[in-house]
């Protein structure tokens, strides 16, 4: 009775098609709304003949790349035109599997429109803005990848913040004591791995609610590092424990010489390169290898994995320890890669935002890095907002990415797929 099965598949995909159609149209309307917004808010505010000037060197000088100067109104109209074309195409035909790529393009165009408007009649250092974006994205992306490692194995990890903070502290002390950045880095990674192990013990062996376990770790980490910091390493007599030094900037030969792109992407300390490396590595490991298939099966359907002879608990321990090590590595960025010392609660919520980047990025390393870059951009922008001629307080610009996250999570674009079994302790009998 093969006709039956064919008919069933046909029927089923019809239901899915309807759902996809609705998503497609919602997305198209979103694109059109962006276009209309640019026309109504930005374009009407700009006088004809006014020019926008973007500086293309992070340093501010114009030695390597010339400034980019263009008429503001024309470009705004062009951007809005492209957005409405994309929106119309999306509503009528849809971009299919390229939809998310097009969404990213729309976001970039919209932000570009915003900058054009904000800079109209003045100048903005575009290269500097983007360079800071990449830097700010590092801890968020590394945090997100810590989350991905744990959650793909079914363990929710909201302790990324605490793991990062602890690792920042430990790495500072060890690097100072041994006068070696590498020792500090390793100590930080090990500290993160140990905290992952603790999270694993609590949530796998003792089946503590994973949110509670993570919260406990966060509170503990904040308390202990703040205490040790204010009691010891911030004091003058212990100053030698808080002088770890910093990883130096690496200028990649040839690539860093490319105008505009070079300074933005190829002239950083090792953390930026490590971020790109880990994103590629983790994507490959998760989706192309046996290791990744097994890890994901445990996060999706642990019982199925168990019946096929996969050791669920061992896999989960491995996931949280690796996730902890990733958070530990991210934590050392704060001390060894960014400020060269430890300060109380210096992670300032970046671990949590990393978690948001993970969700925004649909539990995928590449998507999470995209989210990390988006958040990093607004971070960078809000720091510079006072230099822009816009009547928006910098705090509001800082809020924008999180508003976007809420909208995405509320399902306008379609809910992401969280690992199905995350947060549920697996019991054999």
């Amino acid at each position: 009775m093969t006709t039956t099965t064919d008919a069933q598949i046909g029927q089923k995909s019809q239901g899915i098609l309807k759902l996809e159609r609705r998503r497609r149209i919602t997305m198209g309307i979103l694109f059109l709304a962006a276009a209309v917004f640019i026309w109504l808010v930005f374009a009407t505010d700009v006088e004809p003949g006014v020019e926008t000037r973007f500086m293309m060197n992070p340093g501010g000088g114009s030695a390597e790349a010339a400034d980019w100067v263009f008429p503001s109104l024309l470009y705004l109209n062009m951007i809005a035109g492209i957005l409405s074309l994309l929106g119309a195409f999306q509503i009528i035909r849809g971009f299919g599997k390229y939809t998310y790529g097009v969404l990213a393009l729309v976001a970039i165009l919209f932000i570009f429109g915003f900058l054009t408007w904000a800079t109209a009649g003045g100048q903005t250092n575009l290269a500097g803005l983007l360079r800071v974006m990449v830097v700010r994205a590092v801890p968020l992306t590394l945090g997100a990848m810590s989350g991905i490692l744990c959650e793909r194995g079914g363990i929710i990890n909201i302790a990324i913040e605490g793991m990062m903070l602890t690792s920042a502290f430990i790495s500072t002390v060890f690097a100072s004591l041994f006068n070696s950045l590498i020792v500090g880095l390793l100590a930080g990674i090990i500290a993160g791995g140990l905290m992952g192990l603790i999270h694993g013990w609590l949530s796998i062996k003792y089946k503590v609610n994973q949110i509670i376990s993570g919260t406990v770790i966060n509170i503990f980490a904040t308390g202990i590092t703040s205490y040790l910091s204010s009691r010891y390493i911030q004091k003058v007599e212990f100053q030698y424990l808080n002088e770890p030094g910093m990883f130096p900037q690496i200028n990649v030969p040839v690539l860093s010489k490319i105008p505009f792109i070079g300074p933005i992407l190829f002239s950083h300390n090792m953390y930026v390169f490590a971020m790109f490396f880990f994103v590629i590595l983790l994507t490959f490991m998760l989706f192309k290898t046996r290791w990744g298939l097994r890890l994901r099966s445990v996060g999706e359907h642990p019982k199925a994995a168990d019946t096929l002879g996969i050791n669920v608990h061992r896999t989960q321990y491995m996931a949280v320890i690796l996730g902890g090590m990733m958070a530990g590595f991210g934590g050392t960025y704060f001390s060894l890669g960014s400020s060269g010392r430890f300060d109380e609660v210096m992670t300032a919520g970046r671990g949590f935002i990393g978690l948001a980047a993970m969700i925004f990025g649909n539990w995928h390393p590449v998507g999470s890095m995209g989210a990390g870059l988006l958040f990093g951009f607004f971070d960078s922008l809000s720091a510079k907002a006072s230099l822009l001629q816009v009547p928006i307080p910098s705090e509001f610009i800082g809020m924008a990415p999180y508003l976007a996250t809420i909208i995405v999570l509320a399902g306008v674009i379609g809910r992401g797929h969280a690992p199905a079994a995350e947060g549920e302790p697996y019991e054999k009998e």
């Binding site: 009775m1 093969t2 006709t3 039956t4 099965t5 008919a7 069933q8 598949i9 029927q11 089923k12 995909s13 239901g15 899915i16 309807k18 759902l19 609705r22 192309k288 290898t289 046996r290 290791w291 298939l293 097994r294 994901r296 099966s297 999706e300 359907h301 019982k303 199925a304 994995a305 168990d306 019946t307 096929l308 002879g309 996969i310 797929h417 199905a420 054999k428 009998e429």
Partner: protein, 521 residues
């Protein structure tokens, strides 16, 4: 030659229960061995022991004459034992290939998956056993019958020789069951052996070479289809004589009590689960809704009981339009509901039986006076109902959690029947129950019908639908394909409709004639 599989004296105790009591079982090469028993008889426990998911307290397992120590499924898989679980063990977001090779992956250097090679192997197996599987499809996109074939491929991929199939027909249409039986025969021809776990007598007679009956954790007998008949098997399985037919008189339908018109309901992901359904239920009749699980029945029931908002259409009860009323209002008009998931939607498991018996009347006199509950009245009510509905419990004050499935269901039936009702929605009223409880509940439903109550029976058990209904409506992918008079319906006709195939008048007549012929002979 030693038998392929031999279990000797397998015993397993759970706290308070002897799940398996010295069970012996022998399976010969190339046979389909049916393990027959009621829900809760200990069949699944036994097979989980064989598969290494549980550890037996006593007993030994021999495969091909070799003693086998199973500590985990890996040991079972290595010795050639494989299991198709009742609830499929498939990852919905993985492809067929990924699911099949999980745990036994084909890899290139460095642990990189070799999907192409695995997919080719799956195609090969699929051709040998005529399974018709696309290795690149995602599990979430393929129908249940095909998912089951993926489970079978998983075992064949691991070269299992002994296949355990746990209630494999529960989720299938009658035609899919036939397909499955064909596949099972092909597997036997290829030299495999099958243990077929079921509580459905008819299927055992159709396919088994040998039958072992389990009751209360013990083997009560062993036979073959040739040496026994349905009634023998039923009484062996239940331990007393059972009447397989439900006794009921011709229905006397009255006026229309309940009516659904052009109803549309969305499911949790926003897809149209109920697509333009219309039907009427008269006083004093049972309208059965037949269909394979997941064809919109759940959403239909939730919409007409007020638990889910319909997006379009009307629901009318006794002249009131109840489409957008709250569940309490609908209940007060005279509707009762036996929900599909009794533990989640039917009872508060932590509450005592007495409180569970007043969940829909606790705020009314005499259970409450102004804002105060009258515990004495509630307790009286509880004691009375426990007695009249034969709810087996040490006391009416124990938590509902401690009752067996059958007694939990009786609590729900007692609660819903203890007040005057005009309309009853019974969704899967006997799922997972023992034969005694099934008989009890069927009898009560027919009594209610004869009292003039309109009953909407939703069931995926075709036998139950055929036994109780006066008219049968068949749903498929959210649509109501046809409403048949029970007199003009046969299992084959309903089965075709359940698979989405609408038979022509001619075909219907032919199938109906066949049924009459069988009845005469």
């Amino acid at each position: 030659m030693a038998p392929v599989l031999e279990l000797r004296g397998i015993t397993k105790r759970f706290p308070g229960v002897l799940a398996n009591d010295h069970i012996d079982l022998t399976v010969e090469k190339g046979e389909i061995h049916a393990l027959l028993g009621e829900n809760g008889a200990g069949k699944t426990t036994l097979m989980n022991i064989l598969y290494g998911l549980y550890h037996p307290d006593e007993g030994e397992i021999f495969v091909n004459g070799q003693k086998l120590d199973v500590h985990s499924p890996i040991d079972a898989i290595k010795s050639g034992v494989g299991m198709v679980h009742q609830h499929f063990m498939l990852v919905p977001v993985f492809t067929v290939t990924e699911n099949v090779m999980l745990g036994e992956e084909y890899v290139k250097a460095g642990g990189v998956l070799d999907r192409t090679k695995a997919a080719n192997k799956i195609r090969e197996i699929s051709n040998i056993y005529k399974l018709d599987i696309n290795p690149d499809a995602y599990i979430s996109d393929i129908p249940v019958g095909m998912q089951q074939r993926v489970e079978i491929i998983k075992l064949l991929f691991r070269e299992a020789n002994i296949l355990i199939m746990d209630e494999p027909t529960a989720v299938l249409t009658p035609q899919e069951v036939e397909e499955l039986f064909k596949i099972m025969h092909t597997m036997i021809e290829q030299g495999k052996s099958i243990i077929f776990i079921t509580h459905k007598l008819g299927e055992v007679m159709d396919i088994a070479d040998r039958i072992t009956v389990i009751r209360g954790g013990k083997v009560v007998g062993s036979t073959t289809p040739a040496e026994s008949d349905l009634n023998d098997l039923a009484s062996m399985m239940v331990g007393r004589d059972v009447n397989l037919e439900v006794e009921k008189s011709e229905s006397v339908p009255g006026e229309v009590v309940f009516e659904v018109e052009n109803l549309k309901v969305l499911d949790s992901v926003g897809a149209l689960a109920v697509n333009d359904m219309s039907f009427k239920v008269h006083a004093g009749e049972v309208l059965g809704i037949a269909g394979v699980q997941g064809n919109g029945q759940t959403e239909l029931v939730r919409a007409i009981t007020g638990l889910l908002q319909a997006v379009d259409g009307d629901v009318r009860l006794c002249g009131h339009n109840i489409t957008h009323l709250s569940p309490r209002k609908i209940t007060e008009i005279g509707s009762a509901h036996i929900p599909e998931d009794r533990q989640k939607d039917g009872l508060v498991l932590g509450f005592p039986i007495t409180d569970n018996l007043v969940l829909n009347t606790y705020y009314l006199e005499p259970n409450s006076k102004s804002i105060w509950m009258d515990q004495k009245s509630i307790n009286e009510n509880g004691k009375k109902l426990v007695e009249s509905f034969d709810i087996r419990t040490p006391s009416p004050f124990v938590p509902a959690r401690n009752l067996s499935g059958g007694n939990q269901q009786k609590v729900i039936v007692a609660r819903e029947f203890s007040r005057p009702i005009k309309f009853l929605v019974a969704s899967q009223p006997t799922r997972g129950l023992d034969v005694g409880s099934i008989e009890f509940i069927h009898k009560r439903l027919i009594e209610k019908r004869d009292d003039g109550c309109a009953i909407l029976l939703v069931s995926t058990e075709l036998d139950e639908i055929m036994q109780l209904s006066d008219r049968i409506a068949v749903v498929y992918r959210g649509k109501l394909l046809d409403i048949l008079d029970a007199k003009n319906a046969t299992k084959e006709i309903v089965g075709l409709l359940m698979a989405g195939i609408i038979p022509s008048e001619e075909e219907k007549q032919k199938l109906l004639a066949k049924k009459k012929q069988i009845l005469i002979t």
